[in-house]
Protein backbone atom coordinates (compact mmCIF):
# COMPACT_ATOMS: atom_id res chain seq x y z
CA UNK A 1 0.00 0.00 0.00
CA UNK A 2 2.69 2.38 1.13
CA UNK A 3 5.08 0.86 -1.35
CA UNK A 4 2.61 1.04 -4.21
CA UNK A 5 1.96 4.71 -3.59
CA UNK A 6 5.67 5.34 -3.24
CA UNK A 7 6.50 3.56 -6.49
CA UNK A 8 3.78 5.36 -8.43
CA UNK A 9 4.68 8.67 -6.82
CA UNK A 10 8.33 8.37 -7.80
CA UNK A 11 7.41 7.35 -11.34
CA UNK A 12 5.03 10.29 -11.81
CA UNK A 13 7.63 12.58 -10.33
CA UNK A 14 10.30 11.37 -12.76
CA UNK A 15 8.04 11.77 -15.79
CA UNK A 16 6.74 15.16 -14.65
CA UNK A 17 10.27 16.58 -14.50
CA UNK A 18 11.02 15.34 -18.02
CA UNK A 19 7.71 16.31 -19.61
CA UNK A 20 7.82 19.78 -18.05
CA UNK A 21 11.18 20.43 -19.63
CA UNK A 22 9.99 19.13 -22.95
CA UNK A 23 6.84 21.28 -23.00
CA UNK A 24 8.60 24.40 -21.72
CA UNK A 25 11.77 23.87 -23.69
CA UNK A 26 13.78 24.05 -20.47
CA UNK A 27 13.34 25.15 -16.88
CA UNK A 28 12.55 22.61 -14.19
CA UNK A 29 9.77 21.32 -12.01
CA UNK A 30 9.17 18.84 -9.23
CA UNK A 31 6.51 17.40 -6.97
CA UNK A 32 7.13 16.87 -3.27
CA UNK A 33 5.34 15.43 -0.25
CA UNK A 34 4.02 17.93 2.25
CA UNK A 35 4.51 15.39 5.01
CA UNK A 36 7.33 12.95 4.29
CA UNK A 37 6.82 11.00 7.51
CA UNK A 38 3.21 10.22 6.78
CA UNK A 39 3.39 8.53 3.40
CA UNK A 40 -0.15 7.21 3.61
CA UNK A 41 -1.77 10.59 4.19
CA UNK A 42 0.70 13.19 2.96
CA UNK A 43 -0.47 15.79 0.49
CA UNK A 44 1.41 16.42 -2.74
CA UNK A 45 2.63 19.85 -3.75
CA UNK A 46 4.53 21.11 -6.74
CA UNK A 47 7.17 23.57 -7.88
CA UNK A 48 7.55 24.91 -11.40
CA UNK A 49 10.26 27.12 -12.83
CA UNK A 50 9.88 28.14 -16.50
CA UNK A 51 13.15 28.49 -18.46
CA UNK A 52 15.25 31.54 -17.63
CA UNK A 53 13.02 32.46 -14.72
CA UNK A 54 13.56 32.16 -11.02
CA UNK A 55 11.57 29.77 -8.92
CA UNK A 56 8.46 31.45 -7.54
CA UNK A 57 5.11 30.72 -6.02
CA UNK A 58 2.91 28.85 -8.52
CA UNK A 59 0.31 31.60 -8.25
CA UNK A 60 2.63 34.10 -9.95
CA UNK A 61 2.87 32.03 -13.11
CA UNK A 62 1.03 33.33 -16.14
CA UNK A 63 -2.24 31.78 -17.32
CA UNK A 64 -0.49 29.89 -20.08
CA UNK A 65 2.36 28.76 -17.82
CA UNK A 66 -0.13 27.41 -15.26
CA UNK A 67 -2.02 25.48 -17.93
CA UNK A 68 1.18 24.02 -19.41
CA UNK A 69 2.47 22.99 -15.97
CA UNK A 70 -0.86 21.30 -15.16
CA UNK A 71 -0.77 19.55 -18.54
CA UNK A 72 2.76 18.29 -17.83
CA UNK A 73 1.57 16.74 -14.57
CA UNK A 74 -1.50 15.19 -16.19
CA UNK A 75 0.65 13.76 -18.98
CA UNK A 76 3.02 12.31 -16.35
CA UNK A 77 0.13 10.56 -14.60
CA UNK A 78 -1.14 9.29 -17.98
CA UNK A 79 2.31 7.89 -18.77
CA UNK A 80 2.57 6.04 -15.49
CA UNK A 81 -1.00 4.85 -15.47
CA UNK A 82 -2.49 5.01 -18.96
CA UNK A 83 -6.27 4.72 -19.03
CA UNK A 84 -7.76 3.20 -22.20
CA UNK A 85 -8.87 6.66 -23.32
CA UNK A 86 -8.79 10.23 -22.09
CA UNK A 87 -11.05 13.19 -22.83
CA UNK A 88 -9.58 16.70 -22.96
CA UNK A 89 -12.07 19.54 -23.24
CA UNK A 90 -10.22 22.64 -24.50
CA UNK A 91 -7.28 21.95 -22.16
CA UNK A 92 -5.03 24.12 -24.34
CA UNK A 93 -7.28 27.21 -24.32
CA UNK A 94 -4.77 29.44 -22.50
CA UNK A 95 -1.74 28.42 -24.56
CA UNK A 96 -0.19 30.57 -27.29
CA UNK A 97 0.58 28.98 -30.66
CA UNK A 98 4.10 27.87 -29.87
CA UNK A 99 2.91 26.12 -26.73
CA UNK A 100 -0.09 24.52 -28.46
CA UNK A 101 2.33 23.01 -30.98
CA UNK A 102 4.34 21.39 -28.20
CA UNK A 103 1.17 20.27 -26.44
CA UNK A 104 -0.25 18.70 -29.61
CA UNK A 105 3.03 17.00 -30.59
CA UNK A 106 3.41 15.57 -27.12
CA UNK A 107 -0.17 14.31 -27.21
CA UNK A 108 0.72 12.31 -30.31
CA UNK A 109 3.28 10.30 -28.34
CA UNK A 110 0.37 8.79 -26.41
CA UNK A 111 -1.65 7.58 -29.37
CA UNK A 112 -0.34 4.02 -29.40
CA UNK A 113 -1.29 3.33 -25.81
CA UNK A 114 -4.17 5.67 -25.10
CA UNK A 115 -7.01 6.83 -27.32
CA UNK A 116 -7.54 10.60 -27.00
CA UNK A 117 -10.80 12.49 -27.49
CA UNK A 118 -9.89 16.15 -27.75
CA UNK A 119 -12.47 18.95 -27.88
CA UNK A 120 -10.75 21.94 -29.39
CA UNK A 121 -11.02 25.27 -31.19
CA UNK A 122 -7.31 25.30 -32.11
CA UNK A 123 -6.17 24.57 -35.63
CA UNK A 124 -2.80 23.23 -34.51
CA UNK A 125 -4.45 20.60 -32.33
CA UNK A 126 -6.75 19.65 -35.21
CA UNK A 127 -3.75 19.16 -37.48
CA UNK A 128 -2.29 16.62 -35.07
CA UNK A 129 -5.50 14.63 -34.90
CA UNK A 130 -6.12 11.38 -36.76
CA UNK A 131 -9.78 12.15 -37.36
CA UNK A 132 -12.13 15.13 -36.94
CA UNK A 133 -15.78 15.22 -35.85
CA UNK A 134 -17.83 18.37 -36.30
CA UNK A 135 -20.67 19.21 -33.95
CA UNK A 136 -23.30 21.58 -35.29
CA UNK A 137 -26.81 22.82 -34.53
CA UNK A 138 -28.42 23.11 -37.94
CA UNK A 139 -31.82 22.87 -36.36
CA UNK A 140 -32.23 25.26 -33.42
CA UNK A 141 -31.13 23.77 -30.14
CA UNK A 142 -30.54 20.29 -31.61
CA UNK A 143 -26.97 18.96 -31.93
CA UNK A 144 -25.78 16.67 -34.66
CA UNK A 145 -22.47 15.28 -35.84
CA UNK A 146 -21.06 15.92 -39.31
CA UNK A 147 -17.88 14.55 -40.78
CA UNK A 148 -15.31 17.28 -41.20
CA UNK A 149 -12.33 17.73 -43.48
CA UNK A 150 -9.31 19.44 -41.95
CA UNK A 151 -9.35 22.24 -44.57
CA UNK A 152 -12.93 23.21 -43.66
CA UNK A 153 -12.31 22.96 -39.94
CA UNK A 154 -9.24 25.16 -40.23
CA UNK A 155 -11.43 27.91 -41.58
CA UNK A 156 -13.32 28.33 -38.29
CA UNK A 157 -10.47 27.42 -36.04
CA UNK A 158 -8.31 29.58 -33.87
CA UNK A 159 -5.20 29.23 -35.99
CA UNK A 160 -1.85 30.85 -36.54
CA UNK A 161 1.60 30.50 -37.97
CA UNK A 162 4.48 30.35 -35.60
CA UNK A 163 6.51 33.55 -35.77
CA UNK A 164 7.35 35.35 -32.55
CA UNK A 165 6.03 38.86 -31.99
Amino acid sequence: MKRRFSTTYQAIRKHFKVIFQELFGGGDADVYLTNEDELLTSGVDLIARPPGKKRQHLSLLSGGEKSLTAIALLFAVMKVRPTPFCVLDEAEAALDEANVKRFASYLRTFRERMQCIVITHRKTTMEEADVLYGVTMEEEGVSKIVSVKLEDAKEVAQEATATGV
Binding site: A70, V87, C116, M126, D130, V131, E140
Partner: protein, 165 residues
Protein backbone atom coordinates in the same frame (compact mmCIF):
# COMPACT_ATOMS: atom_id res chain seq x y z
CA UNK B 1 -9.06 -1.50 -25.34
CA UNK B 2 -10.58 1.61 -26.82
CA UNK B 3 -13.92 3.37 -27.23
CA UNK B 4 -15.31 2.36 -30.63
CA UNK B 5 -18.59 4.16 -30.63
CA UNK B 6 -20.85 6.55 -28.73
CA UNK B 7 -24.59 6.37 -29.36
CA UNK B 8 -27.03 8.75 -27.74
CA UNK B 9 -30.58 9.94 -27.95
CA UNK B 10 -32.29 12.55 -25.82
CA UNK B 11 -29.11 13.40 -23.93
CA UNK B 12 -28.83 17.16 -23.41
CA UNK B 13 -28.78 18.89 -26.82
CA UNK B 14 -28.63 15.59 -28.71
CA UNK B 15 -32.38 15.25 -29.17
CA UNK B 16 -32.08 12.87 -32.12
CA UNK B 17 -30.34 9.55 -32.18
CA UNK B 18 -26.69 10.01 -33.13
CA UNK B 19 -23.81 7.59 -33.53
CA UNK B 20 -20.17 8.68 -33.33
CA UNK B 21 -17.64 6.09 -34.52
CA UNK B 22 -14.30 6.79 -32.94
CA UNK B 23 -10.86 5.64 -34.00
CA UNK B 24 -7.84 4.64 -32.03
CA UNK B 25 -5.44 7.54 -31.76
CA UNK B 26 -6.43 11.17 -31.61
CA UNK B 27 -10.06 12.11 -32.19
CA UNK B 28 -10.70 15.85 -32.37
CA UNK B 29 -14.20 17.25 -31.76
CA UNK B 30 -14.78 20.69 -33.24
CA UNK B 31 -17.63 23.17 -33.72
CA UNK B 32 -19.03 26.57 -32.72
CA UNK B 33 -19.81 27.74 -29.17
CA UNK B 34 -22.86 26.02 -27.75
CA UNK B 35 -23.04 23.37 -30.49
CA UNK B 36 -22.79 20.42 -28.08
CA UNK B 37 -19.10 19.40 -27.88
CA UNK B 38 -18.82 19.42 -24.07
CA UNK B 39 -22.16 17.63 -23.91
CA UNK B 40 -20.40 14.66 -25.53
CA UNK B 41 -17.82 14.64 -22.72
CA UNK B 42 -20.73 14.83 -20.23
CA UNK B 43 -22.37 11.85 -21.93
CA UNK B 44 -19.21 9.74 -21.51
CA UNK B 45 -18.96 10.64 -17.82
CA UNK B 46 -22.62 9.96 -17.33
CA UNK B 47 -22.58 6.43 -18.72
CA UNK B 48 -19.55 5.58 -16.61
CA UNK B 49 -21.65 6.32 -13.54
CA UNK B 50 -21.25 10.03 -12.80
CA UNK B 51 -23.58 10.95 -9.95
CA UNK B 52 -22.61 14.54 -9.34
CA UNK B 53 -25.17 16.77 -11.01
CA UNK B 54 -22.75 19.66 -10.60
CA UNK B 55 -20.04 17.91 -12.61
CA UNK B 56 -22.63 17.54 -15.39
CA UNK B 57 -23.38 21.28 -15.09
CA UNK B 58 -27.00 20.67 -14.11
CA UNK B 59 -29.02 21.49 -11.01
CA UNK B 60 -30.87 18.14 -10.99
CA UNK B 61 -30.20 14.88 -12.81
CA UNK B 62 -33.28 15.41 -14.96
CA UNK B 63 -31.34 18.25 -16.64
CA UNK B 64 -29.52 15.75 -18.83
CA UNK B 65 -32.74 14.90 -20.67
CA UNK B 66 -33.34 16.99 -23.81
CA UNK B 67 -35.63 19.75 -22.56
CA UNK B 68 -36.79 21.10 -25.90
CA UNK B 69 -35.90 24.02 -28.14
CA UNK B 70 -37.76 26.57 -30.26
CA UNK B 71 -38.31 23.89 -32.85
CA UNK B 72 -38.74 20.79 -30.69
CA UNK B 73 -40.61 19.60 -27.69
CA UNK B 74 -38.87 18.08 -24.69
CA UNK B 75 -38.45 14.31 -24.66
CA UNK B 76 -39.03 11.91 -21.80
CA UNK B 77 -35.79 10.04 -21.64
CA UNK B 78 -32.07 10.26 -22.19
CA UNK B 79 -30.01 7.27 -23.29
CA UNK B 80 -26.30 6.89 -23.95
CA UNK B 81 -24.41 3.76 -25.00
CA UNK B 82 -20.64 3.37 -25.13
CA UNK B 83 -19.24 0.47 -27.15
CA UNK B 84 -15.76 -0.70 -26.19
CA UNK B 85 -13.31 -2.84 -28.13
CA UNK B 86 -12.05 -5.37 -25.58
CA UNK B 87 -9.79 -7.81 -27.48
CA UNK B 88 -7.01 -7.26 -24.97
CA UNK B 89 -9.30 -8.22 -22.12
CA UNK B 90 -8.65 -5.04 -20.16
CA UNK B 91 -12.27 -5.20 -19.05
CA UNK B 92 -12.60 -8.31 -16.88
CA UNK B 93 -15.48 -9.79 -18.85
CA UNK B 94 -15.61 -12.56 -21.49
CA UNK B 95 -16.53 -10.35 -24.43
CA UNK B 96 -14.37 -8.89 -27.19
CA UNK B 97 -16.88 -6.04 -27.45
CA UNK B 98 -18.52 -4.49 -24.41
CA UNK B 99 -21.45 -2.10 -24.51
CA UNK B 100 -22.51 -0.01 -21.53
CA UNK B 101 -25.83 1.84 -21.52
CA UNK B 102 -27.46 4.27 -19.14
CA UNK B 103 -31.01 5.53 -19.37
CA UNK B 104 -32.90 8.10 -17.38
CA UNK B 105 -36.64 8.78 -17.59
CA UNK B 106 -38.26 12.04 -16.58
CA UNK B 107 -40.19 10.06 -13.99
CA UNK B 108 -36.84 9.52 -12.32
CA UNK B 109 -36.55 5.86 -13.27
CA UNK B 110 -33.06 4.99 -14.21
CA UNK B 111 -31.42 1.94 -15.84
CA UNK B 112 -27.94 0.63 -16.52
CA UNK B 113 -27.29 -2.10 -19.08
CA UNK B 114 -24.18 -4.17 -19.70
CA UNK B 115 -24.19 -5.80 -23.12
CA UNK B 116 -27.90 -5.02 -23.32
CA UNK B 117 -28.66 -6.83 -20.04
CA UNK B 118 -29.87 -4.84 -17.01
CA UNK B 119 -27.30 -4.39 -14.27
CA UNK B 120 -26.61 -2.11 -11.34
CA UNK B 121 -24.44 1.02 -11.40
CA UNK B 122 -22.18 -0.86 -9.01
CA UNK B 123 -21.48 -3.44 -11.72
CA UNK B 124 -20.39 -0.74 -14.16
CA UNK B 125 -18.12 0.87 -11.58
CA UNK B 126 -16.52 -2.47 -10.71
CA UNK B 127 -16.05 -3.40 -14.34
CA UNK B 128 -14.06 -0.24 -15.03
CA UNK B 129 -12.26 -0.14 -11.71
CA UNK B 130 -8.93 -1.47 -12.92
CA UNK B 131 -8.89 0.64 -16.06
CA UNK B 132 -8.75 3.82 -14.00
CA UNK B 133 -11.90 5.11 -15.71
CA UNK B 134 -14.27 4.71 -12.79
CA UNK B 135 -13.16 7.75 -10.87
CA UNK B 136 -12.19 9.84 -13.92
CA UNK B 137 -9.71 11.67 -11.71
CA UNK B 138 -7.38 12.43 -14.56
CA UNK B 139 -8.83 10.70 -17.58
CA UNK B 140 -11.62 13.19 -18.28
CA UNK B 141 -10.54 16.83 -18.02
CA UNK B 142 -13.55 19.16 -18.26
CA UNK B 143 -13.65 22.60 -19.85
CA UNK B 144 -11.84 25.15 -17.68
CA UNK B 145 -10.69 22.35 -15.35
CA UNK B 146 -7.11 21.86 -16.48
CA UNK B 147 -5.64 24.28 -13.93
CA UNK B 148 -7.44 22.62 -11.02
CA UNK B 149 -4.55 20.24 -10.49
CA UNK B 150 -2.45 23.32 -9.70
CA UNK B 151 -4.93 25.22 -7.56
CA UNK B 152 -6.25 22.25 -5.60
CA UNK B 153 -5.06 21.51 -2.07
CA UNK B 154 -2.12 19.13 -1.58
CA UNK B 155 -4.54 16.58 -0.09
CA UNK B 156 -6.80 16.66 -3.15
CA UNK B 157 -3.83 16.35 -5.46
CA UNK B 158 -2.73 13.35 -3.48
CA UNK B 159 -6.01 11.63 -4.32
CA UNK B 160 -5.06 11.81 -7.99
CA UNK B 161 -1.81 10.02 -7.15
CA UNK B 162 -3.78 7.44 -5.19
CA UNK B 163 -6.04 6.85 -8.16
CA UNK B 164 -2.96 6.20 -10.27
CA UNK B 165 -1.44 3.78 -7.74
Amino acid sequence: MFLKQIEMKGFKSFADSICIELEQGINAVVGPNGSGKSNIADAIRWVLGEQSVRTLRGSKMEDVIFSGSNSRRAVNRAEVTLLFHNEDGKLPIEYSEVSVTRRLYRSGESEYLLNKKPCRRKDIIELFLDTGLSKQAFSIIGQGQVEEVLTSKPEERRMMFDEAS
